[in-house]
């Protein structure tokens, strides 16, 4: 027989004013199994808690029901009190007689009766409660950061500086990401490379960071604190240990006309190449698609000229496995594919370029050494048109969202153009100017007022070439819808930021969710912006949604703190509200029949199938098994399981059944 204590709180007049607390306590005492039942003015106060603690000790209670405010308020308070009196905290339940009773009903017999029923429900539940203990999960204090753009760099440095090991994986031959391609950054116009490259070097030199460039994550198994990542180190055909980065190979390479990815296809590179002079590591990679040796089997000129014998043709990719406790995904974004903008002639007219390409033109290290020149004939454009929202906020292009950074970088582009081409005319077609941010609107005003950029509010319908000019047909909606036609020398499209090509694939490998645009989904849009639904995997930067540099860096530091907090303890403690599949003695082992249908129902991929084997290693039975590190305790599998082989700790079938039956006590 249970020994249960019922403690009814008056909460001053809050409960006592409507509910006859004394009567509730008296009636509750009559419930079988209730050893002691009492009421008090403020149960949550020190003397109130002392009443509970003393009763536990004196009467040897094995269960406690506190009838008070919502469990969302004081469940933890009362459970802690029980714990102090050496009663398992999960043997304490709260009957919500304030929010669900005294505050919402009139004073009277019915309200008191309801309060008693609510107590009765919890008493019956406590009878079925089992002592639970917090779940402890060991933590591997090493983080995996995927993506070496500014988000990944920041996250890696922050985690490393907190004293933890970091593995940074970048799929390109160098870290730096899109930020390394930018010329100057809004709203301060400081040079992107000047602020970024020191951090890139810091990453390379940090004792806590292991950098894998030209590498990709192949798969991730495990759960929070205990992941196992498989990483493919793509063969770069150059031994980084031996290579000194002297550059002999790149000067001698006979294949010199490969479009340079770093220059957004505006310049050329060799087949053995270093993406940019500031690359980290500053050592070359052979692009097998264009290398003469890989295409024809002959050449090997680089091997001949290499003074250190660092060229390693035909080396295979290497796959390594790393154990990590947390993952930060920072894979960034891409710009919308060119094929979408046939009305703007992108891909057909050489002088219609994307914003990213303009960055390379404006960059001192770019293909034109920072001079704005037309890709078609190298002349300086005297009239330039910028088209904002090219593909963003456009449901017809399947992308109703705002790419967020375009308003600002378009203003910057127009400004840079005016600074470089003093007699030039620039026009910006825009829908709205979204310049929310510190010093952002001031920046746009500067472009308009100080640098004389012509802002036209309206969309561009078409761009076509005629007699060497680009005819931009648009509308000025502030002038009563006048049609505008500009004969431009160059057109820059502020193309939408989109998810990376491999984003969907990576999300599936990591078991994280993503939205319909393939941006990774945060666990909560407001309160968990850097977490994913998979515990232990965090997000930062534009892989989540288009973001500018300050937001990206803030998110990266946020994610890094989450990782550092996770690593601050040797073990991860979790509420024991998790599902369990029953286990019993042979020959039954479990009532689970292994239909495996629950595997799909779990939102957290916490359920796997486990083989029960005999001593000879033969499979006797296959049953479901739940990883308590991944399970979040929703209980969907519990309600779904036909044979009732899964149960949820803290909300078990018996507990819930008893509560419902008690609620209808005659």
């Amino acid at each position: 027989m249970s020994k249960i204590g019922v403690f009814v709180c008056h909460c001053g007049e809050n409960i006592g004013g409507t509910v006859d607390c004394e009567k509730v306590a008296q009636e509750a005492a009559k419930i079988p199994g209730v050893e002691v039942s009492t009421d008090y003015k403020y149960m949550c106060s020190d003397p109130g808690q002392t009443i509970i603690k003393n009763a536990i000790k004196e009467k040897g209670l094995d269960g406690v029901v506190v009838a008070a405010c919502s469990p969302r308020m004081h469940e933890s308070t009362f459970r802690a009190a029980c714990s102090e009196a050496c009663l398992n905290p999960y043997m304490c339940e709260i009957a919500n007689i304030r929010e669900h009773c005294s505050w919402v009903h009139e004073k009277g017999e019915a309200t008191t009766q309801k309060a008693l029923d609510l107590v009765r429900m919890q008493v019956e539940k406590v009878k079925k409660d089992l002592p639970l203990s917090t779940i402890k999960v060991p933590v591997t204090k090493k983080a995996l950061v995927i993506g070496g753009g500014i988000a990944g760099i920041q996250a890696a440095l922050d985690i490393a500086n907190a004293g933890h090991k970091v593995i940074l994986v970048e799929k390109e031959p160098s870290i730096g990401g899109h930020m390394a391609q930018l010329s100057e950054t809004f709203p301060t116009l400081d040079c992107s490379q000047c602020i970024l490259t020191p951090r890139m070097v810091e990453v390379a030199q940090h004792p806590n960071i292991t950098l894998y460039t030209y590498a990709e994550v192949e798969g991730l198994e495990g759960f929070i604190g205990n992941f196992k990542a498989r990483i493919r180190l793509k063969a770069r055909s150059v031994d980084l240990e031996k290579c000194t980065g002297c550059g002999m190979c790149t000067t001698k390479c006979p294949t010199k006309k490969v479009p340079s990815e770093f220059n957004a296809l505006m310049g050329l590179r060799t087949a053995i190449y270093v993406p940019s002079p500031q690359s980290v590591p500053n050592k070359p990679t052979i692009d097998k698609e264009h290398c003469v040796y890989y295409k024809t089997g002959k050449c090997k000129l680089c091997e001949k000229v290499c003074p250190t014998g660092a060229i390693t043709f035909d080396a295979p990719d290497e796959i390594i496995t790393e154990e990590v406790g947390a993952v930060v995904v920072c894979t960034g974004f891409d710009v919308a594919p060119t094929s979408e903008f046939s009305e703007y002639g992108y891909g057909r007219y050489k002088d219609v370029i994307t914003g990213l390409q303009f960055e390379r033109l404006a960059s001192a290290s770019g293909p034109t050494m920072g001079e704005i020149r037309r890709p078609s004939d190298g002349t300086v454009p005297k009239k330039i048109v910028f088209v904002a929202c090219a593909g963003s906020r456009d449901a017809a292009k399947g992308r109703p969202y705002c790419s967020k950074i375009c308003c600002m970088y378009t203003a910057k582009h127009a400004m840079l153009y005016q600074h470089k081409v003093h007699d030039g005319e620039s026009y910006v077609f825009y829908m709205d100017i979204r310049a929310g941010g510190k010093n952002y609107d001031e920046f746009v005003r500067r472009a308009i007022e100080d640098d004389g950029v012509n802002y036209i509010r309206g969309r561009v319908a078409r761009v076509y070439e005629r007699d060497g000019k680009l005819i931009v047909k648009g509308v000025d909606t502030l002038l009563g819808g006048e049609q505008v036609e500009i004969e431009a020398d160059m057109v820059v499209l502020a193309t939408a930021g989109v998810a990376n090509k491999g984003a969907e694939d990576l999300a599936q490998k990591l078991h994280i969710s993503y939205d319909k645009y393939n941006f990774f989904a945060e666990a909560h849009p407001k309160l968990k912006p850097v977490e994913t639904n998979t515990a232990g995997i965090f997000l930062a930067g534009a892989c989540q949604s288009p973001k500018d540099i300050p937001d990206t860096v803030a998110a990266a530091s946020g994610a890094a703190v989450k990782v550092a907090a996770l690593f601050s303890k040797d073990q991860l403690l979790r509420e024991p509200v998790v599902a369990v599949v029953n286990r019993m003695a042979p020959p039954v082992f479990s009532t689970c029949v292994g239909c495996s249908l629950c595997v799909d129902i779990c939102p957290y991929s916490a359920i796997t199938m486990e083989n029960i084997k005999d001593r000879g290693g033969n499979v006797i039975k296959t049953v479901a098994s739940i990883n308590p590190g991944l399970c979040q305790g929703c209980g969907t599998c519990v309600a779904f399981c036909r044979s009732k082989s899964i149960d949820l700790q803290g909300f078990s079938n018996e507990e819930m059944y008893s509560s419902v039956m008690a609620a209808l006590h005659e």
């Binding site: 009532t591 044979s643 059944y657």
Partner: protein, 266 residues
């Protein structure tokens, strides 16, 4: 039929199988028949309309353990095997699955997964009589329906023949055997009988192939299979999943679509 018999004899004689599960003419209806010799095979009969769903034996370890089994399948049994394979109850090429198509073509499936392509074109449909009774019930008022079913369930003796006849009812501990808590009263009141049936068909929702073996097995003649059929209709209407065809991705109640429609959650 001759082709089928010849094949089974060949397998038995070559020792490729030790047991062929098929049908034999019973007093009134065809009944399950376990053949071990070529002579046995001679007595075998087959029609796709035969009611007992022989796939049920495949989830009964005591029958098929230590045997090399060939199973003669009606279309319904094929459907069940496809589902059983999805639920890990049948291995890749554990059984020889043999079938005569309605146009008398002998078909042998090497793997349960090969059944899908054949079944996909043939959704499971109810008999005209079943359809008529469902329409009659649909036309009733809820209280008339309640009275009709309560009268039906007052006949139930809780023998669980409906459970035993169903290939998908293979749990080793059924919910009715679970007494912590006692979900379903063990005695045979109309309500507890109904609760059992609700559990049975809810547990079969999205897994039932609509073969009707449960109803056919009832010694009291309670048409319990109509409940399954109603759910099949309901699932097709609401989720666009045709009856009797094992969905390629997930079952009905362990998957969802954010755009699922209903008109009663307000």
């Amino acid at each position: 039929m001759d082709k089928l018999k010849a094949k089974l004899k060949e397998w038995l004689e070559a020792g490729e199988i030790t047991l062929a599960i098929g049908y034999k003419q019973g007093t009134r209806e065809a009944r399950p028949f376990f053949c071990r010799t070529a002579e046995d095979v001679e007595q075998m009969v087959f029609s796709n309309d035969f009611q007992p769903n022989l796939a049920v034996y495949l989830s009964k370890k005591e029958v098929v353990k230590d045997e090399k089994v060939a199973i003669v399948c009606t279309i319904s049994a094929l459907r069940s095997i496809a589902y059983l394979a999805r639920e890990n109850q049948i291995g890749q090429s554990q059984y020889k699955i043999i079938h005569l198509s309605p146009n008398d073509e002998l078909m042998i499936f090497r793997s349960p997964w090969d059944i899908d392509a054949y079944i996909e074109e043939i959704p499971s449909t109810p008999s005209e009589e079943d359809r008529r009774v469902i329409e009659m019930l649909d036309a009733m008022t809820p209280s008339e329906r309640w009275a009709w079913w309560a009268a039906q369930f007052s006949k139930c003796i809780k023998c669980y023949a409906c459970r035993a006849a169903c290939p998908m009812c293979y749990c080793t501990r059924c919910i009715v055997d679970n007494n912590r808590p006692q979900w379903i009263d063990p005695w045979a009141s109309p309500l507890s009988n109904m609760e059992w049936q609700i559990n049975r068909v809810m547990h079969l929702a999205g897994r039932c192939v609509g073969c009707g073996a449960c109803g056919a097995a009832c010694p009291e003649g309670i048409p319990v299979h109509l409940l399954n059929r109603k759910i099949l209709d309901n699932i097709e209407e609401n989720f666009g999943m045709p009856a009797g065809i094992a969905p390629r991705e997930g079952a009905v109640l362990n998957t969802y679509k954010p755009e699922d429609k209903e008109n009663f959650i307000k």
